[in-house]
């Protein structure tokens, strides 16, 4: 039971990160290898802001700060790189991630930092016969709430419709009058804001250090590919699957709990190379 909750909590975080990645890829064709870095900065900024004020202020301001970073990034960098190949842009974001790792190291140091959860959410709760840290339950609920909100927005709003259209076929969507540049400003801001949200949500339950970006980056990228490149729903399902396989691994063969999800994801891709939501290969 505890394993299941752990898996779901991690899955919820991955969902939030991966949905942003998937949207950015769908709309801009950018596979952002610096997404983990934005998450890391979310956690670090959360640590600093929460230290100066309190956790709740950080929870609101950090995603906003990261969203602004995204808007700036889109305007000064991504839009200019729009003509470049997907792989080239991805490698450029990897270079940026390397640089930013050092920036975090320079500001916050190499030591593990930790942020304690707010008083309201500290301690543990009884749930279905087990006791579980309240804060993790909060992360779980918050992750699902964010995803529900995102799904509703994508399904119901006009811009959500544009995003879905553009992620299916960018060219046709822009021919039909969707302003890709304007939509992508929203999407990139939202995606980086979500990365910030994942970062601040994770801050009280992981060790905050300059290596945390690469730890989360690989699972979230793989989840996006398994979900079917650019599909938010596919990425969300794959993220949950990742958490659940990790749970199963942790209960059955604890030592393989880190490896099992990757093996499962690679197996899915071996059977279905374009991912869950992707088209069949001819």
């Amino acid at each position: 039971m505890v394993h299941l909750l752990n898996g779901l909590t991690y899955g919820a975080l991955l969902m939030v990160l991966a949905s942003g990645l998937a949207m950015m890829y769908g709309l801009r064709g950018v596979m952002n290898l610096a997404h983990g870095t934005l998450y890391m900065f979310g956690a670090y900024l959360g640590y600093t802001v929460a230290g100066a004020t309190n956790f709740w202020v950080a929870l609101v301001t950090v995603p906003l700060l990261l969203a602004i970073v995204g808007l700036v990034l889109e305007r000064i960098a991504l839009r200019r790189l729009a003509g470049r190949e997907v792989l080239e842009v991805a490698l450029i974001t990897l270079g940026a991630a390397l640089m930013l790792e050092y920036v975090a190291l320079y500001i916050w140091g190499a030591v593990d930092l930790s942020l304690s959860p707010p008083e309201l959410l500290s301690g543990s709760s009884r749930l279905l016969g087990t006791t579980y840290p309240t804060y993790r339950l909060f992360v779980l609920v918050a992750g699902f709430a964010i995803m529900a909100g995102l799904a509703l927005w994508l399904q119901r709003s006009r811009i959500g419709l544009f995003i879905r259209a553009a992620s299916l076929d960018r060219e046709t969507a822009s021919m039909l009058g969707v302003n890709i540049d304007r939509v992508s400003l929203v999407v990139v801001g939202l995606a980086t804001g979500l990365a910030g949200a994942a970062g601040i949500l994770a801050a009280p339950y992981v060790a905050i250090n300059p290596g945390m970006w690469s730890e989360i980056l690989i699972p979230s990228l793989v989840v996006v590919v398994v979900g079917g490149l650019g599909s938010v729903a596919g990425a969300a399902i794959a993220a949950l699957g990742y958490g659940l396989v990790q749970t199963a691994g942790a209960t059955l063969v604890p030592e393989f709990s880190l490896i099992a999800p990757f093996v499962a994801l690679i197996a899915v891709l071996a059977l279905r190379p374009t991912g869950l939501a992707g088209q069949r290969v001819h």
């Binding site: 792989l87 450029i92 940026a96 390397l98 490149l229 190379p273």
Partner: protein, 347 residues
């Protein structure tokens, strides 16, 4: 005609003047071949000229360059960006360590290491090449992560030594007793010659043209009746063996192998080396590797390797996707074009 003066003389003759005439072309290629052969031969004598520490630098940078060459060829000529080549690079080292702990000897160990890497790359390639586009790079990243975590497992400690890694204790290799020192250079340089020559031949072959065609438009290649899977798989495996050769040399030289040899960071650094130098060219990855090695040594104390490497890479790659060699050949050809037109006006 003696070989020594022939090279420089024709090279000078080739400068801005001899653009595109038919007859001197064959003479020029012949002269180029002579230059290349002479340089290849002279390369073996490098330790005579260079001091111990700079030779050490050259040796390490060249091994990194070999690793980068495998990734650069795959990226530039086949269009596949792999982050799994660390599995072959590190896997070869691990195979060496395991075989050498028996009493089969170093040459058998090297052979087994290369064969194991070939098999690994065929399996990994078969799974990942079917995933289209950037998905391929990410699947290889996942494969690398699985390998990295696996060798670190406590349960497999007797085999891989956990996160402490394993010693690779070879007393000699190809008659070289100083394998952990600069004495390994002839083996390294020999591997460079073999690798570069085979890639050069591969690039010019019909198979190389097919690979380029698949890279440029795999749908059209399929439409023209070519199988696009097997050629890419073979190219993936060939570069996998090349990465393994680099891994063998690195393991011999450091007498040690550990999970970071497999980790995707190492692969990403080699890839960045290839891209800085120019992924499509044969010399580029070595140029990039020397730059990376220099940056690493300069900033090893005091930190900031990632910052400067990242910065260098981003600036250069945004400016020139074909790296330094691409930048060079573009400048060169535009300079030559200007020179040529002046000559036309003159005559």
């Amino acid at each position: 005609m003696t070989t020594m003066p022939a090279g420089p003389a024709t090279r000078r003759g080739e400068d801005p003047t001899g653009v595109g005439d038919g007859a001197p072309h064959t003479r020029r290629t012949g002269a180029w071949a002579v230059v290349v052969v002479v340089l290849a031969g002279l390369g073996f004598a490098l330790p005579v000229v260079l001091s111990g520490s700079s030779m050490r630098f050259v040796l390490e940078a060249t091994i990194l360059g070999l690793f980068a060459l495998s990734l650069g060829f795959l990226a530039g000529h086949v269009g596949l960006v792999s982050l799994a080549h660390g599995v072959f690079y590190g896997g070869a080292g691990y195979t060496m360590a395991i075989v050498l702990s028996g009493d089969l000897g170093v040459h058998v160990a090297v052979a087994i290491a290369l064969v194991v890497s070939l098999l690994l790359s065929l399996v990994i390639g078969a799974v990942s090449i079917r995933v289209p586009g950037i998905g391929f790079a990410i699947v290889t990243l996942a494969v690398g992560e699985v390998a990295f975590l696996s060798v670190g497992l406590n349960r497999l400690r007797p085999l891989f030594g956990g996160f402490d890694g394993r010693p690779v204790s070879a007393e000699s290799f190809l008659g070289i007793s100083d394998v952990t020192g600069i004495g390994l250079w002839p083996a390294v340089w020999g591997t460079v010659i073999i690798s570069v020559t085979s890639l050069w031949l591969l690039r010019r072959s019909a198979f190389g043209v097919l690979l380029a065609a698949i890279r440029d438009n795999d749908e059209r290649a399929r439409f023209s009746g070519f199988d696009t899977f097997v050629p890419r798989l073979l190219a993936f495996a060939a570069t996998g063996v090349m990465a393994a050769a680099a891994g063998v040399l690195a393991a011999l030289n450091t007498a040690y192998v550990s999970p970071p040899n497999i980790f995707w960071f190492g692969t990403a650094f080699a890839l960045i080396a290839a891209l800085i130098g120019g992924a499509g060219s044969l010399a580029g990855p070595f140029i990039g590797a020397f730059i990376i090695q220099a940056v690493e040594e300069r900033f090893a104390i005091g930190g900031g390797v990632n910052l400067y490497l990242g910065l260098l890479f981003v600036v250069l790659f945004v400016a020139s996707p074909s790296g330094l060699t691409g930048l060079w050949s573009r400048t060169w050809s535009s300079w030559r074009a200007r020179g040529g037109s002046q000559e036309l006006r003159g005559s």
